[in-house]
Symmetry: C2
Subunit: 222 residues, 2 copies
DNA sequence: GGTTTGACTTTGAGCACTCAAAATACTCTA
DNA sequence: TAGAGTATTTTGAGTGCTCAAAGTCAAACC
């Protein structure tokens, strides 16, 4: 049985790898993601390599092995199903469920997870639009075609599909703006000089976001 | 923040103390309850005493302080609310929720717990009939007047209130016999020599239990 | 009163995880 | 190509929890 710590390292590696699928994850990135000093990450990664969960080359970075990836996807599945459950059943706010799920993801058994999955009708994405890996450890990558509000076409009707930030304050802000997954939007215009994007959510006022914030909101064509 | 281990020691001490409210808990009992060797229990209890959670006299046993008891009751509250939730909402069998709750009780936040409590309509007892401590750390002791099937009056209509054993196989057995909390029963007769109790659950066949098993089933008068 | 017995405590050690700080390797510039 | 700067690894130490085994205590028994 993988310890809570091991599960967290694997999950973090998986998330980092999704961000840049063809590179190995550097120790520095992993360490900051895990909130530990670099030396700790090195030690831990060597232990993970001994268990066959990652491939590690000194000074070359880490990559999950297939076994490590399977485990990581299982953790991610638990995390995202728990998030969905907290929002849909217990009525928690989508901005606060991430931290709750971080704690619960290590405590839910397969049996409970299966019940949650069934109860929710086997959802494909969580409340932030992040895809939920299947029980067999497959992760939908329909995401590849998603663009963000910082890069999509201007004046075209689109739908918000996913928000890739878990900061409660950010999520609360865009919630107040009406920019939650499922909502229809248009980008009215973009300006590189002012670093701003004018966004028009359906049935609401136009609002302006900085490029960095706009880049966190992914959209799909309707 | 109390670690998972500390929470488990406190919970176990609380349960042992309820069994014999005026004695201190011996190291031997605590160690077997926790599944550790006696030396480990001694070490741990000294640490708990340093934190002010228990009072400890070498070779005299342990007792929870008020602070320790409050913490223990909070753990017990989480445990029993989670059990109820798993049975009532996710439809798990009451025989299997104990172990699930042992894992989850350390991961649910106050916020989630409050939602669960509200969702269930603020129940007073869990699926086994065990009372749920209040959010302020009070435990109902209406239990004092409960008798068991091994000690109650003969031929008097009674209702099963509580089952004080968490063994899945035992729970499954009495479930098959129809001896779950809420069911009406009569004890037809008892025999000290054969160590047997003849029990008549309402609308079912009479069945015979050994005294030890009968003593685990608590009843209240109707 | 001495010995046995059983419960309890102490000691020394190990595992998993962490940090601080020193040592090392790589990269980039001048 | 030497030196500077940065990322990474190593080392030594500490925390929390655990065990095995040796030592201690107290009550009971002969």
């Amino acid at each position: 049985m993988a310890s809570v710590t091991v599960e967290n390292y694997l999950k973090q590696l998986c998330l980092q790898q999704q961000r840049a699928p063809d590179q190995r994850v550097s120790m520095g990135r992993l360490a900051t993601a895990m909130g530990v000093v670099p030396g700790t990450a090195t030690t831990m990664v060597k232990a993970l390599a001994d268990s066959g969960l990652v491939s590690y080359e000194p000074r070359g970075g880490v990559r999950l092995t297939r076994a490590g990836e399977q485990l990581a996807l299982h953790v991610l599945r638990r995390h995202r199903l728990v998030e969905s459950f907290l929002v849909k059943v217990l009525g928690l706010d989508w901005s606060e469920v991430h931290d709750e799920a971080d704690a619960l993801e290590h405590a839910v058994s397969e049996k409970v997870l299966e019940r949650i999955d069934a109860y929710l009708g086997r959802p494909a994405v969580d409340p932030h639009g992040d895809p939920i890996p299947t029980a067999r450890g497959k992760l939908a990558v329909a995401d590849l075609r998603l663009e963000s509000l910082a890069s999509c076409a201007i004046d075209t009707p689109l739908r918000i599909a996913r928000v890739v930030d878990q900061e409660p304050t950010f999520l609360q802000y865009i919630d107040r703006c009406g920019l939650t997954p499922g909502v229809s939007v248009k980008v009215e215009h973009r300006d590189a000089q002012s670093d701003a994007v004018a966004i028009h959510p359906h049935g609401r006022r136009v609002l302006t976001l900085g490029t960095a914030a706009a880049a966190k909101i992914l959209v799909e064509s309707i």
